[in-house]
């Protein structure tokens, strides 16, 4: 059973790394596109993942920069979240998992996930507001459609962090039982 859980853990580690690399590439692509669009606005027709915000740029540069900033921030936060998860998994000891470092990192992950969820929700509401004012924003929703999932995930991770905190107390008591 412990060999199996080791294998599952290693498999998860690989998957998390793959997701992190994918999210980093996405964040990098979005940032590079943004910097390039500052010098060559013509590129706004063909942004990351075939995003076309040229109409928004023509109508209101403020709206374009605001939405693109939200896009960049959320993409970077998602990549950073998985970096923190990788850090947790690298320092995780399956033989003695209950320690204050793990608790702190899991709590940090839950707060971070909640931030991403709230940020995505805010971005979605802003998109809806812009759509009501006649902006073409359908293609933006693909970047923050998962906001609610992040909020639920944050709640679950917080519960896990609380369980780990209790686990640390129990493990300390166990270690000091002779």
């Amino acid at each position: 059973m412990s060999k199996r859980s080791d294998l599952v853990f290693k498999g998860l580690h690989v998957i998390v790394w793959i997701i992190f690399v994918g999210l980093s590439i996405e964040a990098g692509g979005i940032i590079v596109n943004f910097i390039y669009s500052l010098f060559k606005p013509a590129v706004i027709h063909h942004l990351y993942q075939k995003l076309d915000l040229s109409e928004m740029y023509a109508r209101s540069q403020v709206a374009y920069f605001a939405m693109y900033t939200l896009l960049m921030v959320i993409a970077v936060m998602k990549a950073h979240l998985f970096y923190v998860v990788i850090k947790l998994m690298m320092n995780f000891n399956l033989a003695k998992p209950f320690n204050m470092v793990a608790v702190a990192q899991i709590t940090h992950i839950s707060y971070y996930t909640l931030s991403i969820g709230l940020m995505s929700y805010f971005a979605r509401e802003t998109t809806r507001y812009l759509q009501q004012h006649g902006f073409e924003v359908d293609k933006l929703n693909q970047f923050w459609g998962d906001g609610q999932a992040f909020i639920i995930m944050a709640a679950v991770i917080y519960v896990i962090a609380s369980i780990f905190r209790k686990g640390v107390e129990i493990q300390n008591e166990n270690d000091l039982t002779v």
């Binding site: 300390n172 000091l176 039982t177 002779v178």
Partner: protein
Amino acid sequence: MMAKRKISLNELSERVDLTLSNLSILKTGKAKAIRFSTLESICKALDCQPGDLLEYVSEE
């Protein structure tokens, strides 16, 4: 009690089959709990009663 029986920590740890670090935890009062089996083996090794080893001190 160890001084009365003229027994060192090393010798006691061998007699009760407890590691030095665990005995040290017990001796310095850092232990959170003690198993009855451990208490029994220590009492046996030191030829004493649990009351000779344990003392209640109010947290106030």
